[in-house]
Symmetry: C2
Subunit: 355 residues, 2 copies
């Protein structure tokens, strides 16, 4: 009882989700327990059953009550959501938009932070990958993701379907500032990725704001790449990148590709961050729910565990974050080809943390 | 004179363009001469000086007269257009939109055909590339490329910049039909790439039309990938693809990446095709004008020469097309590491054609 004042309690909303989500989250939670064990921090978790399974049971994707309950937490840990592709019962559901994107938008997660690192010992698809270590700062609340679309004469020969990318100075500037601040703490290189030669207006606002904020950061080297060229460099010279900043859609594309070149999205972690702290930030592996291998202990929990490292760092627990990252790196270094179960990987990382 | 009736004349508009454009086009024209020499076909070329250089001289990008003159030809061969990035005199020009995209849109090039093949002997970035041989059928006249955007309060903290993707049943169906017909002549696999889970309306129309046209092609195996997942497969398992069909923007991204994994866009050819024949089709390397190496005979003319093969095929000259492709393949197979000038590569391919 005398320790009461020194214990910091973090209220964590846990959304295991569908498919392999619950399996990888189980390991992530083990790691969270292990790294905070004996420290002054206590995580108090609330589970939320959300996702395709919940939708099939109740017809609800994310109710206002769910949202309010989740928003009252300090942070969120999410596994993966989404049902079996082509499931006819999900035909009218859009779990991605109704749940995942709704959380990102409602909780104003304007920074979608996606680090990519090629860990020693990880086999990747590139013959000469070089030293890969960059972070994509993907905008999370605007661009083509706003859901500003519609169609007329649907299903007829005269259908027209539009979809509008919305970009605001407010929205672009705040994420660009975050990216510059991050570059200052890293190798001081920032690459804007867009398609300014074609998307003149959406690209123009990004270019102008990056150029303006760059004035305040004369020590950060800034360059610009069209998105098509950026994909080329991601496979021919990924070590040229430090911090990339880009819109919601281009960020989606670049980070899956980045995950692939660094050895698979089984390792790619992400944070959906509200830097202002007005809403809880949400940490999740970049991978999906992979229903085909669900419940078989075949999923790699590393991306979920590295998402815990991002979560800890976001909460100011830099030491704990680094311990998790180090334990993962040590585990990765000795992985080789032997197949281990989801739990075995989690246990091995926990063992290193407790050692 | 007695042969007059057997000679077919093809009126070709040639747009060498900027940077390395004129150099690679010179080699492409040598090849065109060599492969038609002694045959019943005669190419009659008209040169059009268009591009950044022309703009700087006259202020014109593509006038109505230019367009009408070009449109009166049977086909178009284009090198590359675009000035030195950052040239302040080009600040208000948009050569890409005003010239290249204007040609594609005005001449209704609704099929942007971009084959990707890993030729034996070509070093690429992938450790285990496998057998890469696919074609991206990129829509060329709709999607986010329509230029349907704008901004208000530009340059202020209250700027909003929008950009609308426009997709019509008319426009999607015709390119989807083309892709299915192509798949019938190849390995009978068609992959639709989009982002239906986020771009619900723009993606929805594509999905519905592909599903409908698939009914008429029961022998073509159809699958669907989100664009982010497609980039993963392009580096981890590119041999899974045969024909890909996608919108203008996703096609832009996928084909640059495809060019990279098959050994560089120095080899990637493309056709901007109006299959109806109402307008001349246009053939061009996927690469840009690369002003940094212009005039130095350093550019690889192979993509331009393979664009000639696509041009010949489009004109129904299948034999001539195959001879060009074969000569290029033979040249590629013996390339090794020795640097050759642009002209030396062109001459070597011409020598094989004349052998
Ligand atoms: C599931 C989907 C909506 C999501 C996205 O497009 O953002 C995913 O691909 C991701 O990158 O987190
Ligand atoms: C130059 C640019 C407008 C063009 C495009 O985006 O289509 C180019 O990248 C291409 O792929 O041909």
């Amino acid at each position: 009882m005398s320790d009461a004042q020194e214990t910091r309690t973090v209220r964590l909303a846990v959304i295991p989700g569908d498919g392999i989500g619950p399996e990888v989250i189980a390991e992530a939670e083990k790691v969270l327990d292990a790294v905070t064990d004996g420290s002054g921090i206590r995580f108090e978790s609330t589970r939320f059953s959300l996702g395709a399974a919940r939708y099939l049971e109740t017809g609800d994707t994310l109710t206002d009550d769910d949202l309010a309950a989740i928003a009252s937490h300090d942070a969120i840990l999410l596994g993966a959501v989404g049902g079996v592709p082509g499931d006819p019962r999900l035909k009218d559901a859009n779990i991605e938009r109704g749940l995942l994107l709704k959380l990102r938008f409602e909780l104003d997660h304007y920074v979608n932070l996606r680090p990519s690192k090629l860990y020693p010992g990880v086999p990747g698809p590139l013959a000469e990958p070089g030293d890969i270590d960059f972070v994509v700062v993907r905008e999370g609340t605007e661009g083509p993701y706003v859901g500003n679309g519609g169609s007329i004469r649907r299903g007829t020969a005269h259908e027209i379907a539009n979809e509008t990318s919305v970009n605001t100075a407010f929205g672009v500037e705040r994420v660009v500032r975050y990216a510059f601040a991050l570059a200052e703490r890293r190798r001081r290189k920032l690459t804007l990725v867009h398609k300014t030669n074609v998307l003149v207006h959406a690209g123009g606002i990004w270019k102008r704001i990056v150029d303006a904020v760059a004035q305040e950061h004369p020590d950060v080297a800034v360059d610009y790449l069209h998105v098509d060229a950026a994909t080329i460099f991601l496979v021919t010279n990924p070590s040229r990148f430090d911090v990339l900043v880009t819109d919601n859609l281009f960020g989606d594309i670049l980070t899956d590709l980045a995950g692939a070149v660094t050895g698979g999205i089984g390792l790619a972690a992400s944070g959906n961050i509200n830097p202002d702290g007005a809403f809880p930030s949400m940490f999740e592996p970049v991978h999906g729910s992979a229903p085909d291998i669900a419940g078989q202990q075949q999923a790699d929990p590393t991306a979920a565990i590295l998402s815990v490292a991002l979560l800890l760092d976001h909460l100011g627990l830099a030491d704990e974050s680094q311990r998790v990252t180090r334990a993962v790196e040590e585990d990765i270094a000795v992985r080789g080809d032997t197949a281990r179960s989801t739990a075995a990987i989690g246990d091995a990382i926990v063992a290193r943390l407790r050692a």
